[in-house]
Symmetry: C2
């Protein structure tokens, strides 16, 4: 018995495209002798469709394509994820198509409504297990959250299923894959003999990123050598699993191409052997960021990219990522020096741009600064220079970038990182300008690690950029640590407070000074208004700003 | 028996302030001989606290203040809304404080998780009715959504309660109050004899606005003359209801002051007699917008306001609203003419500013435009002038406003309306600049009605502004209707499609041309990216952009 797993990259709302993609995989499955094709959670409409689910015609069109696919492949059993309407209620369902019809429907029982998830906003929970027979074997069905909460998995076990198919749209997080697998394995270890086929989707959708990483396993890892990860980190692929051999599942993969920054190795096991685990995680993160940007660009039909190249590390890393998703002639990096821009920055920006062979412009902004200075001369007379003058510089740069993007029908890439976003070390309508913010959830210390990974073979980002103290270069001899704690410390606090939800009191117990904790926590609170107007970027930590962390702007909670 | 209803305006997160506010009302209640004080849903922490609820110390502090209040008023029964933690689960609860202790706790049973509500993200549902005895009478308790879904109300009826206390945080919508009352009355009409005491909070919180409008009623409106609305539209007040008279409930009100634009009349009945209903709704909306801005400003400690005055209607209305929430010397209106600014606009802007006696500046932007034109001269050579040049003007204005706000520690008010927001007729980082966007959910046609209301007694906004064809004045002889349908038509489509959720097909059946419908619906879809970076503003329709309507940016759904 062969089962085909489609680790696909659906487009939210593009039902026709998704239906065609599923048909393509049905073809692959059929031609390779598979009897069942599995596709991810909500594969037909993409995940998450958000309020599109409230449009009647959206649900109707899903039903239309479902039947169309069923009719085209009558001999293949196809499992498709889609929203279903019944008695005015919506369900997050999977249908088993066979002989031109919908043969079986399973409705997700456990609906996640935390973190980035809002499924209770749309769906009603199912209340029946999903079971079907194939060639005398019993199969059980689960959808994503079903496997995390007590109930559905145990229920299938009691029904003595031999195979469990669990389809997912489970977002990527740095360092989550292994934990996720271990937790599921532990749950599974309590069951009798069963084979779990876990399929996850791939792709970027606004602030989410899906990494694939499907796997097949059994309780107590029986035959674990044959049942490990499919290595599909961020690659759309079709996996044919052949269950007909004794004590051995034969896996065949059909890859789609994807512009990774290192030649992709045959599978993750091999990759992990080449890199140590920490290096592998960074390597993997970088590929994920490339996919996130690629998907945002492609799915939104963006043909040209513009970004401000400051000579600092963030814009260097963003430019590298951009260079992997669009050809060089479609990318324009602009260095916009002021009197505070160092020669080092100018040289380094030039070097990166030439290393990556993108269009490169130098547009000095002194004249622009002057005309604004003149504007405010009388009204600001006698007042100290402050953040105002720094913001003006950042905003002139934002304006220049936006003008190029507008004129040449492209998009600006924002270059800020999570550490800056957290404490508001950024200029709203200035360096925060952009349609997509690829480093939005990447802490500064991790940006450095990515830069090292980018340089793994040859120097693309000059070593000096990595070694220099980071500076916004908005006033004389400025460095970030003038106003912020060292990034190693700041990122530790952000990790503990935002991602791990430790309170101020607990942070102090970790050994940080009360003053520092109060300062950082307060900065995080008062800068919510900036983050609300920031560009979207992919979640890569366990708690990202945005959908994942919903704070009031008007928030007077202080201890 | 006297019951005191505190229609209060809590601050989200400011537990100490809210506790003091409740104590103040407890004082009023006690001094006026009330035996029970009622406060709104989550009155102790403000509504909605969002992810603050996930902070352990936030819940702990609520408990602390709850006990503090209980101890201070041992003789008064006080009902307070607060989040409660039990066995690691959170509940949206109300506690009855008496004799220094928590005497009774009721947990909300029905949790709204649609529209702007995310209560299932945080809370578990209660499963027991809340009933208590006072002076031989039986009281039942409900929280907001409990009264809208079948179950809790009927359950209380079966328990033969004599009074039902329903506490709420029910957001304002234009034209919702009467419908809300009618629906609840209808539900009530099916019950036996009971008195419903419905209390709602007041105030602005980020994108929500609460209007008060508490009421007392009975099935089939027995004694309706004595049981009608409390007229508390947008006014914090304490209402003492005396139930000791036969067939008559005596109401005494203690108002807090609030800078309404018309002298507030004694009660809404009287107001409705003065104005016709449509006029009353607009009068009421305007007061709501004033409160929304006032609360955003005050709760975020903003001391100065800046806005661009274009000579058009939107900025005129926004300036009027601002003039009601801060004293004139703290408000600066800036007219920033370009070569496309008409003399009419210059004169009218000047007139409004002088009518409202705010600071007024004229800062021409031709020089700024020139320096940017020069910057792009070579690269844009031979290309047509397009939206790029228009955006540059809007962005220069945004920069100037932000510089003033930064230097003088104030905030910029965004002046866009819902019609523009819907179709993206606005410049991101340009006229969309600002910390608060008071007209964000107000369609253009309604902005005109508000302008007329502002002029009810004397002309503040020159009639010419109301009569002229609206124009962005970003190029020669431009009017909005060059690129958009007439606002009467556009707003109708927005109302039907966004607020009433009619599909494209249905819109065409309403008589709009297919071409027009496709154009508008497509504009709404492709401009989600702009709205995501827009300033917050209060929801006033049945569906606002933002929390209320959660659309993907990457969205390829087309019919």
């Amino acid at each position: 018995m062969k089962i085909s797993l489609a680790e696909i990259n659906s487009k939210v709302g593009d039902l026709k495209y998704n239906a065609n993609l599923i048909k393509k995989h049905a073809d692959i499955a059929y031609r390779n002798g598979a009897e069942i094709l599995i596709t991810p959670e909500l594969s037909l409409c993409g995940y998450p469709p958000e309020d599109l689910l409230l449009e009647t015609e959206f649900i109707d069109r899903c039903q239309h394509y479902l039947l169309e696919i069923a009719k085209k492949f009558p001999k293949l059993k196809i499992i498709i994820g889609h929203p279903k309407r019944k008695n005015k209620l919506l369900y997050n369902s999977i249908s088993l198509l066979y002989r031109g019809k919908i043969n079986k429907v399973y409705d997700k029982q456990k609906l996640p409504n935390y973190g980035v998830f809002d499924e209770k906003r749309y769906f009603s929970p199912g209340n029946k297990p999903g079971v079907f027979k194939h060639k005398g074997k019993t199969f059980g069905l689960l959808i994503c959250e079903d496997i995390w909460e007590l109930g559905p998995l145990e229920e299938l076990n009691e029904l003595n299923v031999e195979y469990i198919i669990c389809v997912n749209a489970s977002p990527y997080e740095f360092n989550k894959t292994k934990n996720k697998f271990n937790i599921i394995q532990k749950r599974l270890d309590k069951l009798d003999d069963v084979t779990l086929i876990y399929l996850n989707c791939v792709g970027g959708q606004d602030e989410l990123l899906f990494d694939g990483n499907s796997f097949i396993t059994k309780p107590r890892k029986n035959n674990v050598n044959d049942l490990s990860f499919f290595s599909g980190q961020f690659i759309s692929q079709n996996i044919i699993a052949d269950f007909s051999k004794k004590n051995h599942i034969e896996i065949t993969r059909k890859y789609e191409k994807f512009p990774f920054h290192r030649k992709i190795l045959e599978d993750s096991i091999a990759q992990i052997e080449v890199l140590n685990e920490k290096e592998f995680l960074i390597y993997n993160l970088l590929n994920g960021l490339i996919l996130a940007m690629k998907d945002y660009i492609e799915k939104n039909s963006i043909k040209k990219l513009f970004l401000g190249l400051s000579g600092g590390i963030d814009s260097a890393v963003v430019l590298f990522i951009a260079s992997k998703v669009l050809s060089q002639e479609k990318i324009t990096a602009i260095m916009m020096p002021s009197e505070f821009t160092s020669n080092t920055s100018l040289k380094d920006a030039n070097k990166i741009a030439s290393n990556l062979r993108v269009n490169y412009k130098i547009i000095p902004i002194q004249k622009h600064i002057k005309v604004f200075e003149k504007t405010f001369k009388n009204d600001f007379e006698g007042l100290d220079k402050d953040i105002t003058e720094q913001n003006i510089q950042a905003r002139i740069r934002g304006m220049i970038l936006m003008a190029y993007a507008n004129k040449f029908k492209g998009m600006v890439l924002a270059t800020g990182n999570k550490s800056e976003m957290a404490v508001g070390y950024s200029t709203i309508y200035g360096d925060m300008v952009g349609g997509f913010s690829i480093l939005k959830d990447v802490p500064k210390t991790m940006v450095y690690k990515i830069a090292n990974e980018i340089n793994y073979k040859k120097i693309i980002i000059p070593q000096r950029i990595i070694d220099r103290a980071p500076s916004a270069e908005l006033k004389e001899n400025q460095i970030d640590e003038d106003s912020l704690p060292a990034y190693e410390i700041l990122d530790k606090i952000i990790d503990l407070h935002i991602e791990k939800n430790y309170s101020e009191k607990e942070l102090i117990k970790f050994g940080f000074s009360t003053k520092l904790v109060k300062k950082v926590v307060n900065l995080i609170k008062i800068n919510e208004f900036k983050r609300r107007q920031s560009a979207p970027g992919p979640k890569i930590t366990s708690k990202a700003f945005g959908k994942d962390r919903r704070y009031p702007i008007t928030n007077k909670f202080r201890l």
